[in-house]
């Protein structure tokens, strides 16, 4: 039988999927043990026990200064910023992407500019951003929006423009106006791709969040990582990184479920 037709069962899939994680974990444990044997004070690859103690401190012991549980207040602050940023970026991408994808006039007006914007490295313009928007939540959210929205927009415009011309014509014969074509024909069909695109942008969004929090913040996951980075406190950084990844993966999963629930017709073949 061809390899291509070999489909593992549910159990096999779970096992196979777990394998790389196990390998990574083992590699870490070995590396950590080796380095610690060399220098018991090594901070780069702390032992699991050391990390466990720091998790205990960060997540379940009230902070001496504020009395808060740092991991949770950091998470709350970061998630608020991340979600606000993503929500705003999504709305912008929907409006501009749809306009660009549907109306040739808007495409002529905005597509080159959006393409240009998507190439501007936002990190280099941080001082301007902070002066214009202040150092509060706004500028952190804005950095996420600026980083994510142009790519979402371009992707959406590409998807909208790739709809078969026949569908647009068909809608016109069904008495649709430009607005109704956008609203009832194009929008629902780009939504699944929007969700996928958003999933792909979760990583970059966290990146911008961390970059913004690294500059000025009084709490947040990225803030904490940069604060303790000066001490090479990998026993805090690793759990935080894993936690961020878990959060991102959970959001990814939630978005995937949402897509499947809302747009069953758009599932890849065989899963509808």
């Amino acid at each position: 039988m061809r390899l291509i037709n070999l489909t593992p069962g549910k159990g096999g899939r779970l096992l196979l999927g777990a394998l790389p994680f196990v390998v990574l974990a083992l590699a870490y444990l070995v590396g950590s043990a080796l380095r610690l044997a060399d220098n018991p004070g090594d901070k780069l690859l702390p032992s699991l026990g050391a990390m466990g103690r720091m998790i205990e401190v960060m997540a379940f012991t009230p902070d001496k200064r504020t009395g808060a549980y740092l991991l949770w207040t950091d998470t709350a602050a970061s998630l608020f910023r991340l979600w606000s940023g993503l929500a705003i970026a999504t709305v912008i991408a929907l409006v501009i992407g749809l306009l660009n994808g549907v109306l040739p006039v808007m495409r002529a007006l905005l597509a080159p500019f959006v393409a240009f914007l998507s190439m501007v490295p936002p990190l280099a313009l941080l001082p301007v951003l902070f002066i214009v928007l202040g150092l509060g939540e706004v500028s952190k959210i804005a950095l996420i929006v600026i980083g994510v929205a142009p790519i979402l927009t371009r992707d959406l415009a590409l998807t909208a423009a790739a709809l078969p011309r026949e569908q647009i014509v068909k809608a016109e014969t069904l008495s649709a106006s430009s607005w109704l074509i956008a609203w009832r024909v194009v929008l629902p069909q780009v939504m699944p791709r929007l969700i996928d695109s958003l999933r792909l942008q979760l990583g970059p969004a966290f990146l911008f969040l961390i970059a913004a929090e690294a500059i000025s913040a009084e709490g947040g996951l990225g803030y904490r990582i940069f604060l303790v980075r000066r001490y090479l406190s990998m026993d805090i950084i690793f759990p935080y990184v894993v936690w961020i990844t878990v959060l991102a993966v959970a959001m990814d999963l939630a978005l995937r479920l949402l897509r499947r629930r809302l747009y069953p017709w758009a599932e890849p073949e065989g899963r509808a």
Partner: protein
């Protein structure tokens, strides 16, 4: 209603001439069957009637006015490839046209208006043999079912001009006969003009008032790109079939005949040499 006058129509795609000097007058409420070899430009011709493509040269006049340069609800179409909306269920696909016509902003109806429309849509789905598939998405339907769905979607709008591109090719004889009956009834009841592309001569003669054949007069390979297809045959049915009146055909459709030449009136006029113009 809805007469069409087509004068000296040309269509070129880059260097390739697809159609050349097509002139044609279609009477109101005619049912024109368009036949011709594969690749001769039948679909292209329908696209121009729809306003989806613009002729390279020539004019199309509908009811005395030049054809609008974009498609509209007065002209319905069923494409050769299934062309329903993949994100709507069968019922929603049939309802979307009237919904958009009625609600120019929301594009949706609610409450009683919606209920009434849904009933109409379900009835039409039943008539095209899709009862029971109301809540399926197009991807869950077989090819023939999608094609019938596209037909129902278009018929809901009661277009004045209906354009059909091989709509019944994927249907089995049983369901095809039913759809033929439905088409004939709708054509009798509603004031519409129909242009249908088909490869099935029997179908052409079973439904049409007039059969038009397109073909390329020059077939040598080196000539195929530079010379397009045009009307080579134009046959009116005898005795005439008239919209709204029962004729002998409707009682008993005769087995068709593949041999067009029996009906041929005369070959098209010789093509004037236009080489110098290019």
């Amino acid at each position: 209603m809805t007469a069409l006058t087509i004068q000296n129509l040309w269509k070129e795609y880059g260097p390739q001439v697809v159609l050349e000097s097509v002139s044609l007058t279609i009477a109101p409420r005619a049912f024109v069957a368009l036949v011709g070899p594969s690749g001769c430009g039948k679909t292209t011709f329908l696209r121009m009637l729809l306003g989806q493509e613009q002729p390279t040269r020539g004019t199309i006049v509908m009811d005395g006015a030049p054809l609008p340069r974009e498609p509209g609800p007065d002209r319905g179409v069923v494409y050769q490839r299934y062309s329903v909306f993949p994100h709507l269920t069968a019922l929603q696909n049939v309802m979307i046209g009237p919904e958009m016509r009625a609600a120019r902003l929301a594009g949706r109806l609610w409450g009683k208006a919606r209920k009434g429309l849904a009933d109409d849509a379900a009835t039409l789905l039943h008539e095209v043999g899709l009862a029971g598939a109301e809540d399926k998405f197009p991807a869950q339907l077989s090819g023939g079912m999608q094609q019938r769905l596209a037909l129902a979607q278009t018929l809901m709008m009661r277009p004045k001009l209906l354009l059909l591109d091989e709509p019944f090719g994927a249907l089995d004889p049983g369901i095809r006969a039913e759809i033929h009956a439905l088409m004939r009834r709708l054509w009798h009841e509603h004031p519409m003009t129909v242009v249908m592309v088909t490869h099935d001569m029997r179908e052409a003669f079973a439904l049409a008032t007039r059969v038009i054949a397109f073909d390329r007069p020059r077939q040598r390979p080196e000539e195929r790109e530079r010379y397009g297809a045009t009307i080579t045959n134009d046959i009116a049915l005898w005795p005439p079939r008239v919209a709204g009146r029962q004729t002998i055909y409707d009682a008993d459709i005769p087995a068709g005949d593949e041999d067009l030449s029996r009906f041929a009136i005369q070959p098209g006029p010789p093509r004037p040499d236009q080489g110098a113009l290019r």
